[in-house]
Each structure stands twice: as structure tokens, then as C-alpha cells.
């Protein structure tokens, strides 16, 4: 009892974006990394385990959505290994070229298929509120409904009380405190904690923890991607990048205000 599953996505790293000649996103060039908000989800899993479920296990599940597997495999394992270093005990990775590029329909059905296939019985499933590449925030909700579990989204604080979870949900206009029976699915925001970097010992230990590679043929009920990515183009924001310097702060200020006046954004 008390096991936790945390969803970890090896996501495209937006900071490494590059365009091809015609302005399309150069997917081949972009590496994957552990999606930022998933770090908060792992951190929370570890803290909740240490506080409430001592001795229970944390499993992670990752579904590779950007292929081809041969090219992504190293990045995927690095991202997953980060979770293992932070305290995940065992990782499941669904890597299969027939489901890339993936979409949330595929990802959620694959996660649920892994949970069923390997008989995982988590009391809590944690996920980041959204991933840094797609940022649509829908996988956790899909997983919850498929498993018939209560879902608490956008949690920025989580506590356990008896057999319930009490969470603060961060919505646009208000903060809502809710209580849901366990087992439950929870998506967390970046505000929930400050992830600690793993120690050197933890990083070394991580490479010895089990990473189960899963193929589609091992699973049942995975839905193939429904979304067709017709085109993806880099949004070019061209900034002038002019550094303004003067002999005195007054001169610098004047040069800056002259530039802003000539742009027509102020009337000075």
C-alpha cells in the first residue's frame, strides 16, 4: 500500500529550438530533457513518501512521444535517470516508433496500459500541470478518468489526512482547498515545492535502478495518435539587441530615451 506513480515526460527542450531554412521547427536537432514541472512532481512524490508512506515504492512512467527511438533513446534514459536519482525506485519507459509523434490520447492510454500490465496499485499518481513542449495539461485528467479515480488539478500544496488527500488548487481567480479520497490523481504546479538537486551518490545509484523498456506489443489498449502535425514553424521574434552605453548614467538614460522616442513608443 501507499505506492506512488509519477509521470515523467522526456520533452522537447524549447530552449534548444532551431529552425530549418524555411522556418520550420528542426525537430531532428532538438534534444529531449525531463519536462521542468515534472521535477516538482517527483520532488512531491519523494516528500509525500518520506512523510506518509515510509517503505513504499515510487514508480515512474514515461511515454516517448518524439522519435525515432534510435535517435532519442539516450536523451530519454537521461531524463528518466534524473527521476531515478531524485528518488524514483523503478522506471517504465514506453518507447515504440509506431506511436511517434505522439499525442495526449496515446500517452494517456499507454500510461494506463502500463499500470494494468505491471499490476501497479498506486495510492497516488502525480504529474506536472503541463509539459514544457505541448503545455496543454490534459494527460493527468485522461489517466484519472480512465482509471476511474478522483482528479485534483493544479495543486500547489498537498497533504494527506487519513485516507484522503487535501490539496490547494491554484485556479486563475481563486485558491480552492479540496479533499478527495485515495487513490487519486494529482497534477501539481511549479509553486508546490523547490526541487532539490540529487546528490552525487544518488546520481551514481540511479544507474543501477531498474528501467523497464516497454514495447507496444507488450501492452493492450494503446490508442494510436489521432493528431496529425501538419506543420510547425519557429516564431521569429527579432529584437535589435542594441546595448546602450554612455560616459555617465545621465548620458546612457538620454541615449535610451532618444531611441525610444525615435521608435515612437514614448513622446520624450
Amino acid at each position: 500500500m501507499g505506492d506512488i506513480v509519477v509521470l515523467l515526460k522526456p520533452a522537447l527542450n524549447p530552449e534548444m529550438i532551431r529552425g530549418t531554412q524555411d522556418g520550420s521547427v528542426d525537430f531532428d536537432y532538438m534534444p529531449l530533457k525531463l519536462s521542468d514541472i515534472d521535477r516538482n512532481a517527483v520532488e512531491e512524490a519523494v516528500m509525500l513518501r518520506d512523510q506518509y508512506f515510509k517503505g513504499s515504492k515510487i514508480y515512474s512512467i514515461s511515454v516517448v512521444t518524439w522519435g525515432p527511438a534510435s535517435k532519442r533513446d539516450k536523451d530519454v534514459k537521461m531524463a528518466v535517470q534524473e527521476g531515478l536519482a531524485k528518488g524514483v525506485d523503478e522506471a517504465y519507459i514506453v518507447e515504440d516508433d509506431s506511436i511517434v509523434p505522439g499525442d495526449p490520447v496515446t500517452t494517456a492510454s499507454a500510461i494506463v496500459a502500463v499500470i494494468r500490465k505491471f499490476g501497479l496499485k498506486p495510492d497516488l499518481i502525480l504529474a506536472g500541470e503541463a509539459t514544457i513542449d505541448g503545455f496543454s495539461g490534459q494527460v493527468a485528467g485522461r489517466v484519472a478518468v480512465k482509471l476511474g479515480l478522483p482528479y485534483v488539478s493544479f495543486a500547489r500544496k498537498v497533504e494527506l489526512k487519513g485516507n484522503s488527500i487535501v490539496a490547494e488548487r491554484d485556479v486563475e481567480d481563486y485558491v480552492e482547498v479540496v479533499e478527495a479520497p485515495l487513490p487519486a490523481v494529482v497534477s501539481v504546479t511549479r509553486e508546490i515545492n523547490a526541487p532539490r538537486p540529487p546528490t552525487l551518490v544518488q546520481i551514481r545509484m540511479a544507474s543501477r535502478k531498474p528501467q523497464h523498456m516497454v514495447k507496444l506489443s507488450d501492452l493492450e489498449g494503446v490508442v494510436t495518435p489521432k493528431r496529425r502535425l501538419a506543420a510547425a514553424r519557429v516564431l521569429a521574434v527579432k529584437r535589435k539587441q542594441m546595448i546602450i552605453e554612455g560616459k555617465t548614467p545621465e548620458e546612457t538614460a538620454d541615449k535610451l530615451l532618444d531611441a525610444l522616442a525615435s521608435e515612437g513608443v514614448i513622446k520624450a
Binding site: S153, E176, R233, I244, P249, E250, V265
Partner: protein, 302 residues
């Protein structure tokens, strides 16, 4: 049989979603929370209403109507509670779902749309088969017109498993940063909350609103979240954005892509903000900002 379903909690949101939904013909409306259902009925579509506004109740109401109507398309505005409620509907029936979409075109069998991804640094054009769920970007489509006919209003009940214990409104500073023309924005370069007055004085001299980066609103709570500029905060489109003591994390930069002119003031010349600004001043903000404020006052008000 109506072919689309529109979900929302305000007339503005619902009217915009209807414009997209009507591409397929008739629609039904699922409204939740405190809305004027009489006014919504004037759009000429059947209105289902659930008084609760938590995501689970909204999901349960939407599911009930979806099962009855079997629409090809569900259209709603993008917000957190609807991401929650409609991801559950999508998960239940393996429907494709996309958020923050615009340029939506719907035919009998598929929908296409554009949306930002990669932290706002790219746009994707997607095509999905119907039935599908689309959460549209706010204020990018015109509102639908009301009609002669009046739709019937049906009240729904929901009994969620997740219990709401408390709800408290977020503190509001009374700013609407998304529509501000001039913004002076503050970041971690400020050493204390009191020091922000340097930026307030510059903002006052310029007639600008105050914005901030994520740590100022989310971690330090020196300013309310309505000032927060970025991917998880607000997207802004001012004609002038002055970033003071902001290093320029990707999530922050994603919030200012629509700014016309970006000025950066930072003492670290290797800060990423300098690669993402039009005019940069490498200086200690404590020394430079007061001088800038003084010169703005002298020049703007002479």
C-alpha cells in the same frame, strides 16, 4: 441533431466558442456557475445549466449532455478548470483535445487549428479527426450574434467525489497587465520589496503599469499574481516593456513575445534578456533606474 457543444461560464466566452461551433451548424450550450441563462438562451440554442463550477461537476454535466447529444465537436475557452473538466471527457472517449487554439476550421470529418507550443517559441498547425475537443484562445474570434428564436433552458445536477472545503479569492492589485500599453517589470535583481519603489517611480513617470517575473509573484509574493508576466502568468503586448533586474527565463520571454519594444536593465551582461531585448543597459539598477526616472520626468513633462 445538434452537431456541436459549447461549454463556458461567461457570455463572452460562450459567444466566442459559438462562432467556432456554428461552422458545423446547430449547437447546444452547457453553461456552468453563475451565468444569466436567460441571456444565453437568446442565442437560439438549447442551454443546459449546472450551478456548480468545480471541474468535476462541470465534467459530470458535460458528460451527461455529451452522451445525450453525441456532438462532433466540443468548443470551450481555455482555462484551468476547463482543461481539467474536458481532459476527463476527452480521456473517457479517447477524443483528441487541444488548448489555446485559433484559426479553427471545421469540416464534416476533421478540424484544423493553430496553436503555440515549445513554450511559446513555435506555432503548430494540426489536424484532428472529429469528434474532438477544442479549447480556444480568448479574444481571437468574434462573438456570435444572438438569434430570433429562444433556446430552452434545462437545469442539471452533479454530485462530485472531490469535496470543496474552502475557496478564497486571490489578492488583486487592480491591474490588467494584459491590456497595458506601457509596462515596467521587476525581477530578482531587486534585493527587497521596499526597493521596488524605484520601479514604481519610473512607472509613474512613464504612466506605465507594473509587471513582474515569476519569483516576485509566486515565490516572494512581493506583488500579486495579476502582475505576473510569463507563460504561467499573463501574456502581454505593450508598446514598451522595460525589464528591470530580470534575467530572462524562457517562460518569462514567452510572455513578452508580442511586446513592440523591449528594454532590459541588468547588471549581468551575460543575462539571456540581453539577447531578447531591443535596447539593453548593462548597469546596476540601483544606480541607473533613479537617473532614468529623473530624465523621464524632465523630458516628458517639460
Amino acid at each position: 441533431m445538434p452537431t456541436s457543444m459549447v461549454v463556458g461560464s461567461s457570455e463572452d466566452d460562450i459567444a466566442e466558442a459559438l462562432t467556432v461551433a456554428r461552422q458545423l451548424g446547430d449547437a447546444v450550450i452547457v453553461a456552468y456557475g453563475n451565468v444569466n441563462t436567460g441571456s444565453l438562451a437568446e442565442y437560439g440554442h438549447k442551454v443546459y445549466h449546472v450551478k456548480a463550477d468545480d471541474p468535476e461537476s462541470v465534467f459530470l454535466a458535460v458528460k451527461q449532455v455529451y452522451d445525450e447529444v453525441k456532438p462532433s465537436l466540443v468548443v470551450a475557452p481555455t482555462n484551468k478548470n476547463l482543461k481539467d473538466a474536458l481532459s476527463r471527457l476527452s480521456g473517457l472517449y479517447d477524443l483528441p483535445m487541444a488548448t489555446e487554439v485559433f484559426n479553427v476550421k471545421v469540416s464534416g470529418s476533421s478540424a484544423s487549428y493553430t496553436r503555440g507550443f515549445l513554450s511559446g517559441r513555435a506555432l503548430e498547425d494540426d489536424q484532428v479527426p472529429l469528434p474532438a475537443v477544442l479549447l480556444i484562445a480568448a479574444r481571437k474570434v468574434p462573438r456570435a450574434q444572438k438569434s430570433q428564436a429562444k433556446g430552452e433552458v434545462v437545469e442539471l445536477q452533479a454530485s462530485p467525489a472531490v469535496k470543496i472545503i474552502e475557496r478564497r479569492p486571490k489578492e488583486r492589485g487592480g491591474v490588467n497587465i494584459e491590456t497595458a500599453e506601457l509596462i515596467v517589470s521587476v525581477g530578482r535583481g531587486f534585493r527587497s520589496k521596499e526597493d521596488l519603489k524605484l520601479a514604481f517611480e519610473l512607472a509613474e513617470a512613464l504612466g506605465a503599469q507594473i509587471g513582474c517575473s515569476r519569483p516576485i509573484a509566486a515565490d516572494l509574493k512581493w506583488l500579486g499574481e495579476d502582475h505576473w508576466v510569463g507563460l504561467s502568468g499573463h501574456k502581454v503586448a505593450p508598446r514598451l516593456y522595460v525589464a528591470i533586474g530580470i534575467s530572462g527565463a524562457p517562460q518569462h520571454l514567452a510572455g513578452i513575445t508580442d511586446a513592440k519594444v523591449v528594454v532590459a536593465i541588468n547588471n549581468d551582461k551575460s543575462a539571456p534578456i540581453f539577447k531578447n531585448c531591443d535596447y539593453g543597459v548593462v548597469a546596476d539598477l540601483y544606480q541607473f533606474v533613479p537617473v532614468l526616472t529623473k530624465r523621464v520626468k524632465e523630458r516628458l513633462h517639460r
